[in-house]
Symmetry: C2
Subunit: 275 residues, 2 copies
C-alpha cells in the first residue's frame, strides 16, 4: 500500500453518522491521499472496544501507517480503551466537551448516541411528517395541500425537484411540495391555476439543457422527451416564466441536493424544523 | 434570558450541515440547557464574516452570555475574523486540520465546502440513483427490479419502511426497495412469489401495535385499518412469518430512521456507497 492511501475508522457508540460527517469534511481537505473508510457503529461496551483496538492494530501492522480514527464515543472508559490502540485518534468529544462544560458551567450528561435518537426529540416527528408530506405532494399528484407547504418547488421534469424535497424533509423537517411544469404551462407562459394562490411559496429550479438531456436519456433513451432540442426549449420556457412571474430560482446543474436545499432555505428565509 | 438558555451559531462557508451535526451531538450532552440554534451558511467572504461578528456581539450584549459558535470555515482569514467576535468558538477545522497535516505529512488544500459539494464526488451519482430506485420501488409498486436491490425491506403498512429506504439512499447510496405484506400474505404465512427469489435480501421491520395504531389513526382516523385489534393481528402475523422464513428483523418502535438504517446495514453487512 502506497503512502498516498490511508485507512480511516469512524467509531461511535451510536449510528456513527456524526463521526462520518466530521471526518469526511476534514479528509476532503487532503486531495492527494486516498482514504479507505470503515465505519464501526454501536461500539457501546468494553468487549466491542477491545475488538476495535485489535482491528486497528492489525491494520497498522499490515499497512505500516497509523490508521486515522474519528470517534464520537461518549463513555470515557470505552474511549480510553480505543485510545490505547496504535491509531491516530481524532477524539471529538474529549477535545470539545471539557471546554464546553467550563463555558456552560455544567457537567455534560455523557449519554450515548443522543444526536440521532428519537428519545425526547420533538424534531423527529416534524421530520417524519415532512417526509410523508413530500411523498404525498410529489410531482403535482395532489395540488390541494399547498396551503400547509413551506415551499413549492417548480421546474421541468427531472431537474432535481423530488430529491431536493426529500432532503429538505429528512434533514430539516421542511414541508416541500413540488410541481412539474408541462409543455402547455410553458407555451402559455402562465402559472397553472393551482399554483396562483401560493405564488409567495414558489421556488424554481433550472438546469443546463445538456445535463437535463443526459439525465432524461438515462430514464427514456433516445426519446423526444430526452432530446437536447426539447430540453433546451423547456428550459428557455421555464426561465422566461420564472422571470415573468418573479419567481426566485436556482440553476441546479453544479450543486448537490445539500447545496440546493440550503441555498433555497436562505433565499426563501425558511428555518429548520419550522422554527 | 435565564442562564439555562444559550444561543448557538453554526457558521460555515458551505452548507453548514457538518457544523450542525457536530454541534448538535455535543449540545445533546447538556440536558439542562435550552439552546437557540442559528445556522449561517455560505459565509465565504470577509464582508459576510464581519456581519456575523456583529450579529454574535449583539447577541452577547442582549443575553449577557457568550454565544456558542461551531464553525467549519476553511479559509483562515475568514476564520480569524470570526475568532475576533465575543462568542465562545469551537473551531473544528483549526483544531483538527493541523494535527492531521502532521500525521499525513501533507498540507491540506483549504478548499471551501467540499464535503457537501458534487465536484469530484463519485458517491453523489450513487446517492441520486439510489433515491430514484427507492421511489420507483416503493411500497411494492414494482417487484421486477429486486435483482438490483441491495436490500428489500418488508413489513406491514406504516411500520417505517419508506422513510428508512429513502434515508438509506440519501445518506448511504444504498438501493433499498420495500414491499408491504398484505393480509393475505399474513393469513397464509407465506412469502409472496415475487419475494421468494430474493430471500437473502429481505430485512423485516416490526413495530409495537399501539404505536402502529397511533400512526395509522393519523392517516385514516377510526378505520378498521387503524384499529388496535387489526394492528395487533397483523404484527402477530408478520413476526410469525419472519420467524418461519428466518428473515432478520428489527422492532422500529423506539428507533429513529438513522438508527434503523445503521442497524440494518450492520445486520445485512451492507456497506456505504456499494463498497
Amino acid at each position: 500500500m502506497s503512502a498516498s492511501k490511508r485507512t480511516v475508522f469512524f467509531v461511535s457508540d451510536g449510528t456513527g453518522i456524526t463521526a462520518e460527517a466530521l471526518g469526511r469534511s476534514l479528509l476532503a481537505q487532503f486531495n492527494d491521499i486516498e482514504f479507505d473508510q470503515i465505519t464501526l457503529p454501536y461500539i457501546d461496551d468494553k468487549a466491542k472496544a477491545f475488538q476495535v483496538v485489535q482491528k486497528i492494530n492489525n491494520c497498522m501492522i499490515q499497512e505500516g501507517h497509523k490508521p486515522i480514527i474519528f470517534d464520537t464515543i461518549v463513555n470515557q472508559e470505552i474511549r480510553q480503551i480505543l485510545a490505547s490502540s496504535k491509531g491516530f485518534m481524532i477524539d471529538i468529544f474529549s477535545t470539545f466537551l471539557n471546554p464546553l462544560e467550563l463555558e456552560l458551567k455544567t457537567k455534560s450528561s455523557y449519554t450515548v448516541g443522543k444526536s440521532h435518537s428519537i428519545v425526547g426529540d420533538t424534531q423527529y416527528a416534524t421530520r417524519i411528517s415532512a417526509i410523508n408530506y413530500a411523498l404525498d405532494n410529489d410531482d403535482g399528484i395532489k395540488t390541494h395541500h399547498y396551503d400547509t407547504a413551506d415551499v413549492v418547488i417548480v421546474g421541468v421534469s427531472r431537474c432535481g425537484k423530488t430529491p431536493t424535497c426529500l432532503y429538505l424533509a429528512l434533514q430539516f423537517g421542511i414541508r416541500a411540495a413540488n410541481y412539474p411544469f408541462t409543455e402547455d404551462d410553458l407555451d402559455d407562459l402562465k402559472l397553472p391555476n393551482s399554483l396562483k394562490p401560493y405564488k409567495n411559496k414558489l421556488f424554481g429550479l433550472s438546469i443546463e439543457p445538456e445535463r437535463l438531456a443526459a439525465i432524461r436519456n438515462e430514464r427514456k433513451p433516445n426519446s423526444r422527451y430526452a432530446s437536447f432540442r426539447q430540453c433546451e426549449s423547456e428550459i428557455r420556457g421555464v426561465e422566461a416564466l420564472f422571470a415573468k412571474e418573479n419567481i426566485p430560482y436556482l440553476n441546479s446543474t453544479h450543486y448537490s441536493i445539500e447545496e440546493i436545499s440550503t441555498k433555497l432555505m436562505a433565499e426563501c428565509d425558511l428555518n429548520r424544523f419550522g422554527h
